[in-house]
């Protein structure tokens, strides 16, 4: 029987694209109809559609499919393990005493926004390279400081991402593929360097982290025989209601629970250990950077796979939003303007005080947690300005632009659906659905700090540039 004759004998099950009233008419006649949430692909731009078409030619599509399968396999199979802490200068590749790493794609001093400039000058003072902030600004402008994106040094940095030589770093090893990722330590609080604050209290805290917190953590992890399996801990944290970007209360509890037996065995004074525990307890965010390092560690393992259209990095420097794509190896960034973050503000601040979207923390969404896993963290829907339904919708919607589900990390509320993994540039362009990112809001000026939290999307331009480049290379 031909397929047409088969259709005559089946119950009609229709996918409706376009005019919605047609759906209603068919439904009235008891046909099963699914209305597509359709928008013109690539915002209707001819060159973008042409690029999509090229990538969808069967021979090309086959190559891409195989490459993407490999890429997401590597993300899913990655087993990032926290193996230690040390100062950046000792471990981070390419780190020098006068290097300052920052979040997002490359940017020069003159173009940096307020929070990042604040972070940079604060870091210069902290490193003892300048007496005060003014001198630090002059030094930063002089060209003697090497600025480089964290991402180009196997690192990630939250918010401004400012990372300097003597800061202590998480060391996270990918037990499956061997690569290592780094990120610095949470400063807790809201008036902090990564948010652009840089007064004495900020520098004092950084000093204490360098002199007490970092060394204790370093010594503690030396006592750990196998390190701490972060993926396992992440999965637990999600089941406990974290999405591990804006909500970290469960993850932090789990992490300190694992670190405590090690910390108490170190040779530091009880007073110092107590300070560490009090510091951790002062903010839920303590494990935030840890999950970023985990994500970075898994995604780096999936970068540089020929023909893959999977996104391996999303990062912002406060001016530009940049993405990297697996199939285009090395440090090629596709950028668009950083977006506003929409969400509730701390009392006394107004939307116009917000700096634009900033930080490497979108690496968590690239991995599939954070905004992608909103359905697992109903407790913070209000924090990012939404409802439970919105949260569930965010998570299910992200399936439309990703390649697979990571069954190692699941969302109970969605029938234990694995987190959506492997953002595919093609799917983003095809559907017009942008990845959803949970994030904090920093004040637009240097020296103030965090003023709110919310959600944002990448600029579509970054993905459009990526698809054009992919269509030329594949």
């Amino acid at each position: 029987m031909s397929k047409i004759n088969e259709l005559f004998n089946e119950k009609l099950n229709v996918i409706n694209v376009g005019i919605e009233s047609f759906k209603d008419d068919m439904s009235k006649q008891h046909a099963t109809v699914t209305h597509l949430e359709w928008t013109p692909p690539g915002r209707g731009k001819i060159e973008i559609i042409a690029a999509l078409d090229k990538l969808e030619e069967p021979s090309v599509a086959k190559k891409i499919e195989a490459a993407n399968k490999l890429a997401v396999e590597r993300i899913v199979n990655s087993q990032p393990v926290l193996i230690g802490f040390d100062q950046a200068i000792n471990v981070v590749p390419g780190m020098t005493k006068t290097t300052i790493l920052h979040a997002g794609p490359p940017i020069t001093w003159d173009k940096m926004n307020g929070p990042m400039k604040g972070g940079v000058t604060g870091a210069i003072v902290f490193e003892g390279l300048a007496k005060d902030l003014d001198e630090a600004a002059a030094l930063a402008a002089s060209g003697e400081i090497t600025f480089s994106p964290c991402h180009e040094h196997n690192c990630v940095g939250s918010m401004a991402g400012v990372t300097s030589a003597s800061m202590f770093m998480h060391i996270v090893e990918n037990k499956t593929y061997g690569n290592i990722a780094y990120t610095n330590l949470s400063e807790q609080m809201s008036k902090i360097l990564r948010m652009g604050a840089n007064d004495e209290s900020v520098i004092n805290r950084l000093n204490w982290m360098r002199d007490v917190l970092g060394p204790i953590l370093k010594e503690a992890m030396k006592l750990s025989s196998n390190g701490i399996d972060l993926r396992l801990m992440l999965a637990q944290a999600l089941h406990m209601g974290d999405e591990c970007h804006n909500r970290n209360i469960a993850g932090t509890t789990l992490l300190i629970q694992a670190l405590t037996p090690l910390i108490i065995q170190t040779d530091f004074t009880t007073e110092q250990k107590k300070e560490v525990f009090e510091f951790v307890a002062s903010s839920d965010y303590f494990s935030g950077p840890t999950w970023m390092a985990l994500s970075k560690c898994a995604l780096d393992a999936a970068h540089g796979i020929e023909n893959s259209t999977i996104v391996t990095t999303m990062a912002r420097n406060g001016v530009e939003f940049g993405i990297r794509v697996s199939g285009i190896s090395g440090y090629t960034w596709f950028t668009g303007p950083a977006q506003k973050v929409i969400g509730p503000m701390f009392a006394g601040y107004k939307p116009e005080d917000s700096g634009l979207d900033i930080g490497d923390s979108a690496i968590t969404e690239t991995y599939g947690i954070g905004g992608f896993a909103m359905a697992t963290a109903p407790a913070i829907v209000a924090l990012v300005g939404g409802t439970i339904d919105d949260a569930i919708n965010y998570s299910t919607k992200m399936k439309e632009i990703t390649t697979t589900e990571n069954q190692n990390v699941t969302i109970p509320l969605l029938n234990f659906m694995g987190i959506s993994t492997g953002i595919d540039v093609q799917k983003v362009i095809q559907t017009g659905i942008m990845p959803i990112i949970n994030t904090a809001i920093a004040h637009k000026d240097a020296g103030i700090g965090m003023i709110g939290a919310g959600i944002t999307n990448p600029p579509v331009e970054a993905f459009e540039k990526a698809i054009l480049a992919l269509s030329e290379t594949i």
Binding site: M1, S2, K3, I4, N5, E6, L7, F8, N9, E10, K11, L12, N13, V14, I15, N16, V17, G18, I19, S21, F22, D25, M26, Q29, H30, A31, T32, T34, L36, E37, W38, T39, P40, P41, G44, I49, D53, D389, I392, N393, T396, K397, K399, E400, L414, N415, K427, Q430, T431, G432, I433
Partner: protein, 514 residues
């Protein structure tokens, strides 16, 4: 207190679900009483005993599930029924999470393995791409979108042909598949006649006439208007004929189109010759001899085509009401029209209905002009100005640029109607009113004030203006055809019972000196 009822035909839920549903329904705020039970006579008796009997319940069958809600006001009732529906469907979904949404055909196809057809009604610039996706996922396509290049159409139809799939369209507005009317189509009986149509309203007209003659439709396959062009080569019509030939339920096949390009006509006729089932051919203005030679049953007009089809399908001719022309009426109207009132002005929302009326007029008159005339000589110089007998298809591109189709938005036609009514050389204004899915909910009603005004105007000027209305639809269509007819007649217009009769009446009314 308000009572509202939903009867779900042939719906079975296990008793446990029904009980828990009933309990939940009775707990909905503001609901005084909710009943969920199978529609047996005995259960109806109980309902009647508690004073909740309604017409819908009366008509429920033993296999139907009755849902009855009694509440303070309509809003609460409606909400409760909605909630109950939700509870019911929740039981039906396998995934248990909120309703799945898809943004691409591919992801929908992967997640809904039962999907078999995609209806595409997006901007023509994007439509071919979506259609290709659908075909690649082994889904049949109905493409409502127009403004698609002929190259894209050929590519899509060839792909569909290779895969054995339907590619209805581009620019396909009408289809009925598995008794489900798609886009613009009428509610007609299920039967044993299959239709392949390149013209939407033409196919609608045939399906409605067949229904009126007591027959019914198996499938109505739309091909899109360009299918029988030399370039496209009738790919969809040929595949459609083949599929209907192989379809056990189909006994008779009807083809509806403008005359095909010669090379395509040859192919279609060759296929008719090979076909083991009777094929009725209505090619508006087509050639009888060729069709008959190929073993087809030629019909010059629409009603004739439908009649041939139902007779071939086994109807008893003696029992049919063929709706012959009302000859006394013709005499009566001729007498009312002055010698100056020579012309017909046909104002149509349906292209093929316009085409048919025009061809009927062309049999007796030479000065027949239209925006859809095939002879350039008789094409209207200015579509805004009528000349001689004028037939206008308001669904044609010149009128729809940036506007919805006249079946949805009648404003352009109303303006033109008033213009024609003022013209003293006009004897008859002929209009169609299309009912059915997708169409305006009260097409006669929106025209009514203009009709009344025109009649009065003519009367004040001492002339009779004859207005003929044809209403394309069945009693099953949601617009209530009877009400539409009554409105038309009440306004003093003449109601024609078919497209064919409408054309014939208009022509005969203005024939002089016969």
């Amino acid at each position: 207190m308000i009572v509202q009822v939903i009867v779900k035909a042939n719906t079975y839920f296990d008793s446990v679900s029904l009980m828990s549903l009933s309990t939940k329904a009775n707990q909905i705020d503001g609901v005084e009483q909710a009943i969920i039970a199978m529609g047996t006579e005995m259960n109806k008796e109980v309902i009647s005993n508690v004073g909740l009997m309604t017409v819908e319940i009366e008509e429920a069958k033993t296999s139907d599930l009755m849902i009855i809600v009694k509440a303070e006001n309509e809003r609460i009732c409606a909400n409760a029924l909605e909630e109950i529906e939700e509870l019911l469907t929740k039981k039906n979904t396998t995934k248990g999470t909120s309703e799945a949404r898809y943004s691409t055909i591919k992801s929908a196809a992967e997640n809904i393995p039962e999907a078999n057809l995609v209806v595409i009604a997006v901007n023509g610039a994007y439509a071919p791409r979506e259609a290709k996706k659908a075909l690649e996922n082994n889904l049949h396509v109905m493409m409502f979108s127009d403004n698609v290049s002929v190259e894209d159409e050929i590519e899509l139809k060839q792909l569909a042909h290779e895969k054995g799939l339907l590619m209805m369209g581009p620019d396909c507005g009408t289809a009925i598949i598995g008794n489900v009317a798609l886009c613009f189509a009428n509610a007609v009986r299920k039967g044993n006649i299959g239709i392949v149509g390149a013209s939407g309203t033409g196919s609608q007209e045939i399906s409605v006439r067949i229904h009126e003659f007591g027959g019914g439709i198996t499938q109505l396959i739309g091909t899109g208007g360009r299918d029988l062009s030399k370039e496209v080569g009738g790919i969809m019509m040929l595949d459609g004929i083949k599929a209907l030939e192989e379809d056990e339920a189909t006994k008779v096949i009807v083809l509806v189109s403008k005359p095909p390009a010669p090379s395509v006509e040859e192919k279609v006729l060759a296929q008719i010759q090979l076909c083991t089932k009777p094929v009725v051919v209505w090619f508006v203005g087509g050639d009888e001899e060729k069709v008959t030679k190929a073993g087809g049953h030629f019909a010059k007009m629409s009603k004739e085509a439908a009649l041939k089809a139902v007779l071939l399908a086994g109807a008893d001719e003696s029992k049919l009401n063929k709706r012959a022309l009302n000859l006394p009426l013709i005499e009566e109207v001729r007498a009312k029209l002055t010698s100056e009132q020579k012309y017909i002005r046909g104002l149509f929302s349906g292209g093929t209905l316009c085409d048919e009326a025009m061809h009927i007029a062309m049999e007796k008159f030479s000065d027949v002009y239209s925006n859809i005339q095939r002879e350039p000589e008789y094409r209207l110089k200015d579509v805004k100005v009528s000349q001689g007998h004028t037939f206008i298809d308001f669904g044609d591109d010149q009128f729809t640029q940036g506007k919805p189709h006249p079946m949805i938005d009648p404003s352009t036609r109303i303006e033109r109607f008033i213009q024609e009514a003022k013209d003293p050389s006009v004897g008859v204004i002929l209009m169609d009113f299309v009912l059915g899915f997708g169409a305006h909910e009260d097409p006669v009603g929106v025209m009514l004030p203009a009709i009344i005004e025109a009649k009065q105007l003519a009367e004040s000027e001492g002339r009779h203006l004859e207005i003929i209305g044809y209403i394309l639809g069945t009693e099953l269509d949601s617009q209530n055809i009877e009400g539409q007819v009554n409105k038309l007649i009440a306004a003093g217009a003449t109601h024609a019972s078919s497209s064919q009769n409408a054309g014939l009446l208009a022509r005969e009314f203005v024939v002089k000196g016969e």
